[in-house]
Symmetry: C2
Subunit: 337 residues, 2 copies
């Protein structure tokens, strides 16, 4: 017996419409457009970053996780700009009609994600087209007028801060990929437990946009962006945009317990770990006169931020070892082209 598939737009809309609860301008997904009444005194911050099966996730990943990730990668950008998520539109493209149960689980994952991030589905579109499943979300956030934090405003002398830990998602992807193939070479080589693996794979499948840091970024950062394509590549982007250079002290980068395990067994993984991408942590420039405030606030933040270096005059990014020598990078991160 084959499982029931969604066979009309109306059926799909009925399934997704509960995600619009609380957003009158979504019209239950039954109008052609969504309406959004902006809050007075706020700018909108908008981001569109589609994800596709085989590129950003595996086609057989749990649908809840696929949905979560599709929204999370967009919300992560809003948070890094100091914005609070408000709403999103979603265009789905299926190569064939999805199974009803798959679609329900996808909707459940979206519901979890939007409740966690504090935003609501307000509109979208669905069609069938050849090619991989594609989920194109446009996320909309708000920030007090004029307070969006840009990436091109870092200054020489500002401290480089990042949130959380780097590299977990990149390691998680590799472990997830080998597990899908029925292998455990890396896992054994790195001596990882089930618990280690689940932490790492979960960071790949369920990125956590740092929405709790949005207010903090607005108050204390001179420039900010999320780290989605690897620390070095994204830091290079911030440097290029801001016309500054960056010097990172590798000893100051924080790693999770499982990542420390990997690095202990295989120190050569270091450069992979800090350029793997999919971190969805925040990279921020903090002026010297804000560092004291950041230090004292840091203990109260749900996710800690860490100073890892300093922006300097010039151009380019260097990452130094404890002994002061420079770490070379073959590949600084993920390029989409």
């Amino acid at each position: 017996m084959t499982e029931a598939r969604i066979n009309s737009e109306a059926e799909l809309i009925a399934l997704l419409a509960p995600l619009t609860d609380g957003a009158p301008g979504a019209f239950g997904l039954k109008d052609d457009c969504a309406r959004l009444t902006p809050t007075a005194g706020y700018d909108l911050v908008l981001k569109t970053d589609p994800v596709r099966a085989g590129v950003h996730f595996f086609p057989d990943d749990p649908p809840e996780d696929i949905a979560w990730k599709a929204l999370a990668v967009n919300v992560s950008d809003l948070a890094a700009k100091g914005a609070e998520p408000v709403a999103y539109l979603m265009a789905l493209s299926f190569p064939e009609p999805p199974q009803r149960s798959w679609m329900q689980r996808f909707a459940d994952g979206l519901k979890q994600a939007q409740e966690t991030f504090g935003c609501t589905l307000i509109g979208g579109d669905t069609d069938r087209a050849p090619g991989p499943l594609s989920i194109a979300i446009t996320a909309i956030g708000q920030v007090p007028t004029g307070q969006m934090v840009r990436r091109d405003t870092a200054k020489a002398g500002d401290a480089i801060y990042i949130s959380g830990t780097l590299g977990d998602s990149g390691l998680g992807l590799r472990l997830h990929a080998e597990a899908r193939d029925g292998r455990r070479d890396l896992r054994d080589r790195w001596g990882l437990t089930d618990w280690h693996c689940s932490i790492l794979v979960n960071r790949y499948l369920r990125p956590q946009p740092r929405i709790e840091l949005a207010g903090f970024i607005r108050q204390h950062a001179s420039a900010s962006m999320d780290i989605s394509d690897g620390l070095v590549k994204d830091l290079e982007r911030m440097c290029r945009a801001s016309g500054v250079a960056a010097e990172v002290d590798s000893a100051l980068i924080d790693f999770s317990v499982p990542a420390v395990h990997v690095l202990t067994r295989e120190p050569a993984e270091f450069s992979n770990i800090i350029s793997a991408g999919d971190d969805y942590e925040i990279l921020a420039a903090v002026p010297q006169d804000q560092i004291g405030a950041v230090r004292s606030k840091n203990q109260h933040l749900p996710v800690k931020v860490h100073r890892i270096g300093t922006f300097t005059a010039g151009s380019g990014v260097i990452v130094k070892r404890i002994d002061g020598t420079i770490i070379p990078f073959d590949r600084t991160g993920w390029d989409h082209f």
Copy 2:
């Protein structure tokens, strides 16, 4: 010699950045997000409707036309809601890096379109993924607060109005498809001249969103939507949403000169023509007390509107011949599933 291809995100951004001129919140496409400062006293109206090669256009269509259509189909929805276009985000997905010349022509087409429609690119994303070329635009318009015209507010007794002429694009698609195959069967059968064909094909390649009617719609329509999937199907949707029925007098539907040619030679094409889709005309419900005003204003509108019938109590759509008999439809229009 093979033609130069775009081989980095930076190159693509450099090529598209001029499209953001006049929109400071686009940051020249160099930030992670776009910023939009809403106009006080206005609601935003948002739409996302991606187009894909092989589904919404032919891969070898002129890139200027592909770009135009990708934006036009979204702006059409805004206009039908009574909104003026403001800005848009665009996520591009290429199966392989585009040729530089192709991409430049695509950007030229977008520039023409956005200047015609009065909106500006403010952000986007690009990646490479297997599958057809995909262009996912999210268009943002504005409407005085509370004045967005919905589709679910038509009332029994309201007149049914449509703008422009129906079916041209559907005929254009068929002529375009046969010309691509080096055939001219339909063209000869219908006795069409080059001029006829170019009018029809152009309506397929370059849909004209009825932005000039946005103010008119806000003032006089009780409900409105664009006709993108065929008159009958979209009218059914409006009826279902509004809880009314519709009766259309086929003799009142306006056709272009080339479409009249086709209908004269082949009257059986009538039902195809009014359910073919891709019209991007506006379907509006006009209350009886507004009909006088609509009639007197109509002569001053750049695109005329025509009354084609009346909303009634009940459900369903019927289209009547001159003799009062009902025209049956095998297929009322385009379903995306």
